[in-house]
Amino acid sequence: MPTAWTRGAAGVLIAFGIVELLTRAEFVNPAYLPPASSVVAETVRLFGDSDFWDALWATLWAAAYGLARAIIIAVPLGLVLGLSRWAYRAAITVVELLRPIPSVALIPLAILLFGTGTSMKAFLVTFACLWPILFNTIYGVHDVDRVGVDTARVFGLGWFKRAARVNLPAASPFIYTGIKIAASVALILAIGAEIVAGGSSGLGIEMGEARALGNLKLSYAYVTVTGIIGVLLYIVMEAIERHLFRWRSM
């Protein structure tokens, strides 16, 4: 809708303008918030900095690798668990028991086990991403429409073929939702682990350095950058979803 877009854009500009005004006029303490224009300028500068791109790549790689491993483990496991009524109940109980443990609390343990490099980050990402994917897969597989399953039965398909050709495709939208959630979790853990553990390369490490230097403008620039990454991730995941599931009646 054109009006929604223009209003949204106007909103962004107005917000920007207000911040700029307040900070330039020093209504807001510049120790809290530097002028919006300078943050934007710094962000633009970052995009031209090759060190930044190296760090970005390191973070994204750890997140992607950890996420991929979580998918490979959680989807088949969730498929198996979701098919059996008893296994389903048991699995839900276990997941709900272990879910309250915040994955970030495992950062110290991960550092002990893996050091401060990529494997540490990937380990944490995999652990944290397992839960939403597993939960959504179990739920999606279990909740498949009975008529669809019965149809496969009347065509003589055994349980395994039914699982592969009915349960799995029918559950795929749910599984994808789990992956969407896991993708943002992956970013959170990757950056979080980098900030806590330090290490050689990553956005969180760059942020830590900016903080050590007391460089507020740069820190805000990094916040902006991660926001942009988050938005891009969202857009990409949504676009993939629209294509993969174009068969869905909405």
Binding site: R7, G11, Y32, I92, P100, I101, S184, I191, R211, Y222
Partner: protein
């Protein structure tokens, strides 16, 4: 699952006998849960025994430590549990109050909504740990910094859900209230709040787990007290049993916070049960 409990509770409330609630299905369900818990414990015990690694102490060491060194230790409460929980609640409640109020207001105005939505979605897309360095510069390493991190990190989901809740208010209900001469304030409290409440609570739920995450991570980076602080210190001082005990305490905390939120939600949304 909560729907099942709700209907069962309704039966208990309307019919009385507890016997009805303890049907065969229910007993089987409780039995299954206990069996699963037992299974998890067994797995933990056997896996740690097999691994024989100092990084993975056996539950027979960890669980007593949870009781003795954490839950019944007054210094722990003073130095670790209370500071963490207080910061958590401060940040969460602060964010919740402001976000709900703001969200409900924004949600009632289509223009405002369209103007602010992209900005809010951008803010939500920021991975919350990214806020840590900035806030450390601004606020130093004290309580304020952690409360601010939690509050800012937790606000966007609540805000978005409150906006969503406000939008889902049935215009017909509002018009009826206006026709009955119910003033602005009454319409807000009696029509908008109840209609928006389910979505608001959904947002609170998501934010609660996010709040715990932020509480922990802010204490891992730069802190002088707190649960996360102690876990980090333990990992550096080779106190692995105590570290794992801390993880268990966090799990308990998470479960309790969720249960508390559920209780409040049930109370507020009581009209929805039956």
């Amino acid at each position: 699952m909560s729907d099942l409990v709700d209907t069962e509770m309704a039966v208990v409330m309307s019919d009385g006998p507890l016997r009805r609630w303890l049907s065969v299905d229910r007993i089987a369900d409780i039995g299954l849960r206990l069996a699963v818990l037992g299974g998890v414990y067994l797995f933990w015990l056997l896996a740690t025994r097999a691994a024989d690694s100092i990084f993975f102490p056996v539950p027979t060491d960890v669980l007593p430590a949870v009781w003795n060194d954490w839950l019944t230790d007054s210094t722990t409460w003073q130095d670790n549990i209370v500071p963490s929980v207080i910061r958590l609640l401060y940040g969460f409640v602060l964010a919740a109050v402001l976000s709900i109020a703001l969200g409900l207001a924004i949600g009632r105005s289509q223009v405002l909504l369209e103007m602010l939505e992209p900005t809010i979605h951008f803010l939500r897309a920021i991975p919350p740990p990214a806020l840590l360095p900035v806030f450390l510069i601004i606020f130093g390493i004290g309580d304020m910094q952690k409360v601010m991190v939690i509050a800012f990190g937790v606000a966007p989901p609540i805000l978005l859900n409150s906006i969503d809740g406000a939008r889902s208010v049935d215009q017909l209900q509002l018009d009826s209230a206006a026709a009955l001469q119910i003033g602005r304030r009454g319409r807000i409290t009696k029509v908008i709040f109840p209609a928006a409440a389910p979505k608001v609570f959904a947002g609170l739920r998501v934010s609660m787990s996010l709040a715990v995450i932020l509480m922990v991570i802010s204490e891992l980076v730069a802190a002088t007290d707190g649960i996360g602080f102690r876990i980090m210190r333990n990992s550096r001082n080779f106190a692995y049993v105590d570290m794992w005990a801390g993880l268990v305490v966090l799990a308990i905390l998470g479960i309790l916070l969720n249960a508390g939120l559920t209780l409040i939600e049930r109370r507020v949304l009581r009209w929805r049960l039956l």
